[in-house]
Amino acid sequence: MNRRAFLKATGTGLMASAFPISLVKLAFGGQDPSRDFTFGYISDAHIQQIKGTQFVRNWDMGLIRAVREANLLTPRPDFFMFGGDLAQLGKKEELDHGLEIMSNLRGKVRYVIGEHDYYLDLGKYWQDKISPLYYSFDHKGVHFVVLNSILTYHKWTYETWPSPMDRMLAMARLDNPQGSPFMVGDQQIAWLKKDLAKINQNTPVVVFSHSPIQKIFKPWNFWTQDAEKVQALLKPFEKATVIYGHVHQIQYNQIGNITFQAVMATAWPWPYPETYSQSASCLPKITVPMNRADPFFERDATGWQFVDMNSGKTAMHYQLPDNPNRTVIFDAATGKPKDVKYQDYIRRIPPQTHF
């Protein structure tokens, strides 16, 4: 199925409205259309318990809407990814409630862990009930890797906080000056090296992580401390893509052969780091920001996108509520992704200016 046919198929009925999920399409340049497939991506739900059976309505509604609308996708995605931060404070109640909502999703779901899921019990309940913390799988000729990229220093994790909930609260606060940078860690990097060693370098590789495997803004952990080590392992592959959550906003970048794409949150959007005037940031220069969020519309600055990987290069299609849709293609001439409409500064619109 080509992209036009896919758009036509997905552009009907309720799909015409904007969905807070990401549908990803992997295509193989028409070489073997039977191998084309799609997968959906839902991320950053931040299900938050108030007390007992009460949960924050706003965040519940974001995930409920994503699941309902994902169930209407045609053609059916081969599988779904959840990109991390199912819970706000890693509590069993929050994870259970999130899983209950996710259980309505028709199709196989695989999970990436986020820091909000991890730092209460260091992933114990997650591994018991949901998923391993890192793993890989193959699907129709593509090698997928799921990383746990939200680890940090041993001392911060084990020797700093009086209780597990103190540790969780410290990591849950994005702007915490007592926070600690995310990292993949040497043990997992050794595993990744071994995992990728058996993969042919012509095989497209897609890495799912919660944090960006690149360095954008350390104070909010839009950052992975050992990103370069992971990037080095992806370097031999002709077609490498990293898809990440955590940042709750549109970001895209190209570092060497690796294309980076962020997914939207179902819960709430985050400001771009450059809007914090007291600290310098390194938002990828090629990213044309999403429109500034309207707080009066709860689901604004959430959205969904699908990725078209023709010839193994990503093209991202963003479907955004109350905003014109966005398309970011891979520009073979420059070797970088570019927004087909807004990439030139003179073509940008006032809401894309964040300050």
Binding site: R57, W268, W270, S277, A293, P350
Partner: protein, 140 residues
């Protein structure tokens, strides 16, 4: 007569007294020390810190949601642009009104009086995190 003399001298004394008062006021107002500056800054920063706590508190509203969940470091609050025409409300409002909008809606809480020490603390923190950015009232 006596009364009038008394009142004249009373007036004179009052005037002299006022003069002294004025002189002593002007001395106090102009003549402050490094220690004063330090104390005033400490007073201000203690309110900023109280604001930082409230801004990150799960108890400002009723649903455990805190301001920083959407506004890390109070980013995207644009204090320098207020008062401005808030198009969703349809009139010119101050930052305090927008703070109360957030407390009412995402935080599902009760709005604060505009001179509530909590409101003063929140505004102090939000503005402090935006220090050195030029005023731009009305900007969008």
């Amino acid at each position: 007569m006596r009364n009038s003399k008394f009142s004249k001298s009373a007036c004179l004394a009052a005037l002299i007294g006022l003069g002294f008062l004025a002189i002593s006021f002007s001395i106090q107002a102009d003549d402050f020390s490094e220690a004063d500056l330090k104390r005033w800054n400490q007073e201000f920063m203690s309110v900023v810190m109280a604001g930082e706590k409230l801004f990150h508190s799960a108890d400002l509203g009723t649903n455990k949601v805190s301001c920083d969940q959407c506004h890390p470091n109070a980013a995207n609050t644009h204090p320098e642009t207020y008062p401005k025409f808030q198009q969703q409300i349809g009139r010119v409002i101050t930052l305090s009104e927008m703070v109360n909008w957030c407390i009412r809606n995402p935080l599902e809480g009760e709005p604060l009086l505009l001179d509530d020490p909590k409101m003063v603390a929140l505004l102090s923190y939000i503005t402090y995190e935006r220090r050195s950015v030029p005023l731009a009232p009305g900007k969008h």
